[in-house]
């Protein structure tokens, strides 16, 4: 869990984006899927703990949810396991009816995709050195240097923290971008930066593994959501997937899977995801 990163989906690859915009959507509606007899979904192969391959077999949080959906769907669900790059173009060109993978819901993606009810909520927090007396609350972050991953969604969320600081008369300090979070944590421990911004899940995991070095702070962003997606306008299929997903919330099976894979639960997510980035 140490390298868990919920929001690497900040960047869409060029090739994928180009295809996604040129592709002619011909995803099947629910009636067409029933007529054809099967639905096609794409899942990923290396995104622990959502979907990954263990001994050549798919597993993970989304995979277990998908297996529950396969049982309840009433039609065959054919699964293609492909890397992230091919997933969104696959859905927008109609090759797949749904992307059953952890997609960060963004305003940009909402233009071409309809997102299902979220499966995970993600909020950015700050991490500080254990016992650092400079930082007692959000307003103390004024002007302090912070570490964040280059090109990440967390970096894009920083204006939200800036707004919070402005409300108390402060502002963001120096932003140091790192190639990866491990380097940022090291620099924090060494005192080269004052705090690190990352998702709650990642920071909880690092604070738990190094309790004498790090301490988790407070939320510094609005929540973002991670959800499955269908092509824009395929509302019947969206409704079918949503009915299933909301059902797993009601009977608690989704929360049990969250406990298993994330060691926490997200019980206050909205029925439809929102996007502030």
């Amino acid at each position: 869990m140490a390298a868990l990163s919920l929001t690497r989906r900040g960047v869409l690859l060029g090739a994928a984006a180009a295809l996604a915009t040129t592709g002619v959507a011909k995803a099947l509606t629910l009636a067409e899927i029933k007529k054809r007899g099967y639905m096609t979904v794409a899942t990923e192969d290396d995104y622990q703990p959502f979907e990954f391959t263990k001994d050549g077999k798919p597993t993970g949080y989304d995979q277990e949810l998908l297996e529950m959906f396969k049982k309840s769907a009433g039609f065959e669900v054919r699964q293609d396991i492909i890397p992230w790059t091919g997933i969104l173009p696959g859905v927008t060109t109609g090759k797949y009816d749904a992307a059953v993978t952890a997609i960060l819901v963004t305003q940009e993606r909402m233009k071409t995709l309809d997102f299902c009810s979220p499966v995970v909520e993600s909020i950015d927090y700050y991490l500080k050195r254990k016992g650092d007396k400079k930082i007692r609350g959000i307003k103390d972050l004024n002007g302090l240097s912070l570490g964040v991953e280059a090109g990440s969604a967390m970096l894009k969320m920083l204006p939200q923290l800036d707004d919070m600081l402005k409300a108390t008369g402060g502002k963001l300090g120096k932003i140091v971008s790192y190639q990866g979070y491990p380097e940022a944590y090291q620099d924090l421990a060494l005192g080269r930066i004052d705090f690190v911004v990352n998702t709650r899940l990642s920071l909880e995991s690092i604070a738990k593994s190094k309790p004498d070095t790090f301490e988790i702070g407070e939320p510094v962003s609005k929540p973002t959501y991670i959800a499955w997606a269908v092509v824009k306008g395929n509302s019947e299929l969206l409704a079918t997937l949503n009915a299933f997903l909301l059902g797993t919330r009601k009977d608690g099976s989704m929360y049990a899977l969250q406990k298993k894979w994330f060691d926490t639960t997200f019980e206050h997510m909205p029925e439809a995801p929102t996007a502030d980035v």
């Binding site: 090739a15 295809l19 002619v24 192969d45 001994d55 492909i82 890397p83 790059t85 091919g86």
Partner: protein, 214 residues
């Protein structure tokens, strides 16, 4: 890395070898065909081939495979992913091999052909007995060079879900957070496969020198 991981890497290696060999086996003669069209200045086709080769050489393998796998279904052509992978690598190999064959053809001494003509040798025989053995020998190092490049480009097909050696290694690294052992195994796989091609080339060249290879 456990037994399951080694099995996954072995399966990936199998895919790498199968896809590369198929693409080489189809792409090399297709390249020769295109080169002959250009060499013979076949009216109408010459320009088409030149444009096609230039386009293919300008297209990255990852982009091409995404196009074959995701764009063709939108015009009603459903391609299985293994076939899409082979087709992509074949197209690339065909384009590069066309240029390699063409270079060998351009360097071919014309007076030999004139001599064969003077003896009344028909076109087919002129090609198979006079031209092909000599250009094959001249092109061999460049062709094998291109084959080794193709094998190293083959991880591009992973993007449509064909799990070849590199992707198998990525998957293992993503679960163990220790990517070095699977990558070292993958590297060893490539060294062995490419070593096989280079060894074959050496063997053929030794046979030429001994005059055994017509």
């Amino acid at each position: 890395m456990g037994t399951g991981d080694y099995l996954a890497l072995a399966a990936g290696a199998g895919n790498t070898i199968a896809i590369s060999l198929l693409a080489i086996a189809i792409g090399t003669p297709l390249g020769l065909g295109l080169a002959l069209i250009r060499w013979g200045r076949v009216r109408g086709l010459d320009g088409v081939v030149a444009t096609l080769v230039s386009l293919l050489r300008a297209t990255p393998a990852v982009t091409l495979v995404l196009l074959v796998y995701f764009a063709l279904p939108t015009v009603g052509l459903e391609v299985p992913r293994f076939a899409a992978g082979v087709a992509t690598l074949t197209l690339g190999s065909m384009a590069y091999n066309c240029e390699i064959w063409r270079a060998a053809l351009l360097a071919f001494p014309r007076d030999q052909l004139d001599a064969a003509c003077a003896f009344g040798m028909p076109r087919g025989l002129r090609f198979s007995l006079v031209v092909l053995p000599q250009i094959a020998r001249a092109a061999l190092p460049a062709l094998v060079n291109e084959m080794t490049l193709l094998i190293k480009v083959s991880p591009a097909v992973a993007v449509i879900g064909v799990t070849e050696a590199t992707r198998a290694a990525v998957r293992i690294g993503a679960t163990t957070y220790n990517p070095i052992p699977p990558f070292l195994v993958a590297l060893a796989i490539y060294v062995v496969v490419i070593g096989f091609f280079v060894a074959t080339q050496r063997m053929l060249e030794r046979r030429h020198r001994a005059g055994l290879f017509a």
